[in-house]
């Protein structure tokens, strides 16, 4: 039985009639999470617009001929490495009839052949052969002026930095370095410092919520201290700890950073504000689990970086991973996780990362909380009498901040979003 919500938050109106409440960034209308028309415009202006979208880690396509299926927005693309080692990104759609021809998640190939009529593409995504192009015994076949080079799948612009591959439909997008801005580039380079990566594995889950909720989640440090009982209980992130929300100038990218402090005294007042989020006295049977092995040139023990519009770089103690957002209409998103370490990790470090991976992912001690909260949010938007939410914490700021008790970077995101979307 499909969920057919009755939505009366304005999302059924044409986009031209939707108005942000009083142009007030402290109020967020529900229709940005529920409207099909908003989602269509997001595809055009954000995912196909002036952005760099994550598509792969180079370690996933290590050799000539390596490829993976990926997505830009919800559009399936192929990421491949050609004979010369160069990476290409092109739409996973046959130029003939539109077949999504590459069905393997990843692998190695000399070329790609569409199964329907055997059109063949090389590793650069260029059409190499069309069967019976000249017809059969003088009959049929393509027109005489048919040119292979005019029928390639749509190719995307590609850029890489320290082993991370981004693609863009835009020919006029700025360089990745300019796109990220200096502060978020610096945070990106902590995890991706040029050390060769080792892929530890993959997860995928479908979240029952709008894709922007994941951005908000990582721009909302307030929730980290309250929803995530595990973080507070084991002092991974507690109000009062050294922390920061580092935003770029545009407000679209950010890094939530914090430093674990085992000696920090949690005052009675903090404990009482956290209410249910703090389990006094709970201890681990395996205390080694939360050990932090220093390996980064950074004062932070956790950084959660979100790069607009589809990449999260996760560094929680020694567990590292990226999350790739694939929006699935207004009401769902797919999350593609790639967990990794570094190629020169010792067997002990390998094991430490595998153990700490329990923190994150679709079964993570922290991961589960967020996935559930995002579904609860979307449920709230789908079936409601009321039709807006508020983000008022730390009203004097917009963007970067030093306190966890803030929504300043959520507001910064929506200033940028409204400009791009013209809503």
């Amino acid at each position: 039985m499909p969920d057919t919500p009755f939505i009366d938050d304005g999302s059924n109106l044409p986009l031209s009639e939707l108005r942000w409440p009083d142009d007030d960034l402290t109020r967020i209308p529900d229709w940005i999470y529920t409207s099909e028309e908003v989602f269509q415009r997001e595809r055009e202006r954000i995912f196909f617009g002036e952005t760099w979208c994550f598509v792969a880690l180079e370690a996933e396509v290590p050799d000539p001929g390596s490829f993976k299926r990926s997505y830009v927005g919800d559009v399936p693309v192929i990421v491949s490495r050609d004979e010369d080692g160069e990476i290409h990104v092109f739409e996973n759609r046959c130029a003939h009839r539109g077949v999504e021809f590459c069905r393997e998640l990843r692998g190695k190939a000399e070329n790609f052949t569409c199964p329907y009529h055997q059109w063949m593409y090389d590793l650069k995504g260029e059409l190499m052969a069309v069967p019976f192009r000249r017809g059969d015994r003088g009959e049929g076949g393509m027109p005489k002026n048919f040119k292979l080079e005019e029928h390639n799948p749509k190719k995307l612009n590609v850029t890489t930095r320290h082993g991370v591959v981004f693609a863009s439909f835009s020919d006029s997008v700025e360089s990745l370095e300019e796109y990220l801005g200096p502060d978020n580039l610096e945070q990106f380079d902590v995890v991706f410092a040029g050390r060769k990566l080792k892929i530890l594995g993959f997860y995928k889950n479908r979240l029952q919520g709008n894709w922007k909720l994941y951005h908000e989640n990582l721009k909302d440090p307030y929730h980290a201290t309250l929803l995530h009982v595990y973080l507070a209980t084991f002092r991974l992130m507690v109000a009062g700890q050294k922390s920061a929300m580092i935003c770029d100038e545009s407000g679209r990218h950010s890094t939530m950073a914090s430093t674990k402090d085992d000696d920090m005294v949690i005052t009675e007042e903090t404990a009482s504000q956290m209410k249910a989020a703090f389990r006094e006295g709970m201890e681990l049977h395996d205390p080694e689990f939360l050990k932090y092995v220093e390996e980064f040139d950074s004062p932070w023990t956790v950084t959660m970086q979100i790069i607009w519009p589809n990449l999260i770089v996760q560094r929680e103690l020694n567990t590292l991973g990226i999350r790739h957002i694939v929006p699935r209409g207004p009401h769902a998103l797919d999350m593609y996780w790639t967990m990794f370490g570094y190629d020169d990790d010792t067997p002990e470090m390998d094991k430490h990362r595998l153990k700490q991976a329990n923190l994150m992912g679709p079964s993570g001690y922290l991961g589960v909380d967020d996935n559930e909260a995002i579904k609860f949010l979307q449920d709230g938007f789908k079936h409601s009498y009321s039709d807006e939410g508020i983000v008022k914490l730390e009203p004097e700021k917009e963007g970067s901040t030093q306190t966890l008790i803030s929504e300043a970077s959520v507001r910064a995101l929506y200033r940028h979003y409204r400009e791009v979307m013209d809503i």
Binding site: L200, Y203, N205, L207, H285, F289, G367, V368, D369, N371
Partner: protein, 165 residues
């Protein structure tokens, strides 16, 4: 059927494993999560991972526990710290296949599992289909898991996975 066992021995062993799995499923259905680590040896290993990882020899787990203390910590997290909507889960286990028994008595076996999930106001759905790859040992005559690798086919997990399988 295991090559180094007589048909009767293999049949008896399969029945023992089915009994074990029935009880294992019962405590998971009851969400008696604190009882779950007791199905393993003290140094037991438990992992849940997608078939794409298993087939590629990748080592990550959605859940990755080495030793009963780590399993106790996961049980405590599920019970105490992880925030999630209430749900019913039902576990089905079948096709138990005894593969081999080592000289030291370690039993290698496999079986299929299926988990059906019901959220309170939603339709019941198949949550996960997968394969247990197991190593059992006997302690005081009773079977215990030395290792259980849960390899799921259902790569796209619906929302999240709170409980072990």
């Amino acid at each position: 059927m295991a090559t180094n066992l007589s048909p009767d021995e293999a049949r008896a062993l399969r029945f023992d494993i089915e009994e074990f799995n029935t009880e294992y499923a019962r405590i998971l259905d009851a969400q008696d999560i604190n009882a779950w680590p007791d199905f393993f040896t003290g140094d037991g290993f438990y992992r849940i991972t997608g078939r794409e990882n298993y087939d590629a020899g990748l080592t990550i787990g959605l859940v990755w526990c080495e030793g009963r203390p780590m399993m106790q910590d996961r049980a405590a997290a599920v019970k105490t710290t992880m925030v999630h909507a209430p749900r019913y889960l039902r576990h089905y286990n079948s096709n138990v296949r005894v593969i081999d028994v080592d000289a030291d008595g370690t039993i290698h076996s496999e079986s299929n599992y299926l988990v059906v999930e019901t959220l309170m106001e939603e339709e019941t759905r198949i949550f996960q289909a997968g394969l247990y790859i197991d190593e059992f040992v006997r302690e005081d005559g009773a079977l215990l898991l030395k290792a259980r690798d849960c390899i799921y086919d259902s790569l796209l997990i619906p929302n999240d996975m709170v409980y072990p399988v």
